[in-house]
Subunit: 231 residues, 2 copies
Amino acid sequence: MSERVSFRTIRDEMARRIAERRWLPGALIPGEEALAREFGAARATVNRALQELARAGLIERRRRAGTRVARHPVREARFVIPLVRQEIERQGKSYQYQLLSRHETTAPDIVRARLGLDEKARLLHVRSLHLADRSPYQFEDRWISLDTVPAVRDVDFSTVSPNEWLVEHEPFTDAEFTFFAAAASAEEAAVLGLQEGTPVFVGERITRLRNKSITLARLVHPPSHRMVTQL
Amino acid sequence: MSERVSFRTIRDEMARRIAERRWLPGALIPGEEALAREFGAARATVNRALQELARAGLIERRRRAGTRVARHPVREARFVIPLVRQEIERQGKSYQYQLLSRHETTAPDIVRARLGLDEKARLLHVRSLHLADRSPYQFEDRWISLDTVPAVRDVDFSTVSPNEWLVEHEPFTDAEFTFFAAAASAEEAAVLGLQEGTPVFVGERITRLRNKSITLARLVHPPSHRMVTQL
DNA sequence: TTAGCTTATATGTCTATACAAAACTTTCTA
DNA sequence: TAGAAAGTTTTGTATAGACATATAAGCTAA
């Protein structure tokens, strides 16, 4: 018969109706069956379009109750978390890496608590620096559990950063990211070439493989750093 | 016949194979047809599972070339961006709002540049404060384009924050978020009850309706603020 | 009045099938 | 032999139909 209709077309048309307030916040929109008839598509196609809008937070759907336009669109921002190297290279800058220190020890209480380890746990503490066009870009201060990742004992991290090595060799199932602003410690300031107390942008990352903690990383950026996303 | 298999089951099983390195990074995994046979499901079901894994960044798919395990899983973190009020209330704290100032003016160059407006453009400048349990939580410094949103001329923002009013009344199609660390300006410090120069966590948000700029907001949080996400 | 049960209904998902589109390979042609 | 054309393979998407599941709403009985 006529042209086939893509779920994208339907999705975008419905998004437009919401944006243009033809479908008002909180209002019930037609059921899948009705929309399918209106757009001349199969219900499965309309369903896919609706699911995408729901995932984007524009609508809320409940079985039997139907679909409504979200009152307060709880929109979500998506940030891509690539390797530091890729992040730098995508900005068209050259990437350099420096290992600052590498020690096997037990961890301070704060680290143990965050990783959920007991007192005797052995950890590898690696401090390193990532540079973009020769200027400090990120100071990586990382603790790696030797119980979970014994293989790191044999890695010297002089040429490959822990970041990169772990992504390449150590699978993980869960990760937790925290971002905040802090004042640069004496050490961080020295490494990044800043004054102590300068505001820095800190990303903290914990990764786990099932219940076992793999690593805790504190990633410190100079105040020029920006984390950006669209929509 | 036998039990029907859910795309979730298939998705999770494949994720496990990747996590356990049974499917190695960079390796080609079986085609949809083969997987469908293996899991005893329809190809469409396997396809859905694979698409989710691709969306999560675990695999990369190309027509004709097949599907491979991502070498450097470019994983993405998803942050929920709710209304400040909801954000505070979800922490079990009480929410208060204070309007600090509201002026109709032309905008400073920096603002005009970011919003892409010409020199004569009229803007509403609204400064307000969001509090959690009576202590300053977020300082909102916002510029709203009067050309795009003439209706705000009639809103006094004494009880409803610009944040909330705009979400409720002004649809948008595009938004851009930027997060960074900065030193508190004298004004920001005063409003948030901090020392000038204290590190603050800043979120900048620009929203547009098709090509027209709606608003630019600078949202300043005290250094205790954390932005967290899982996976 | 209320707690529990039933029913109707909208969304959620699976299947089988078909065709579309991208991208790699091979063959043909100038 | 370069380049275009045709073929092949794999993923992408649409469809009709069926059944699954959550849940709002009505009904029943204590």
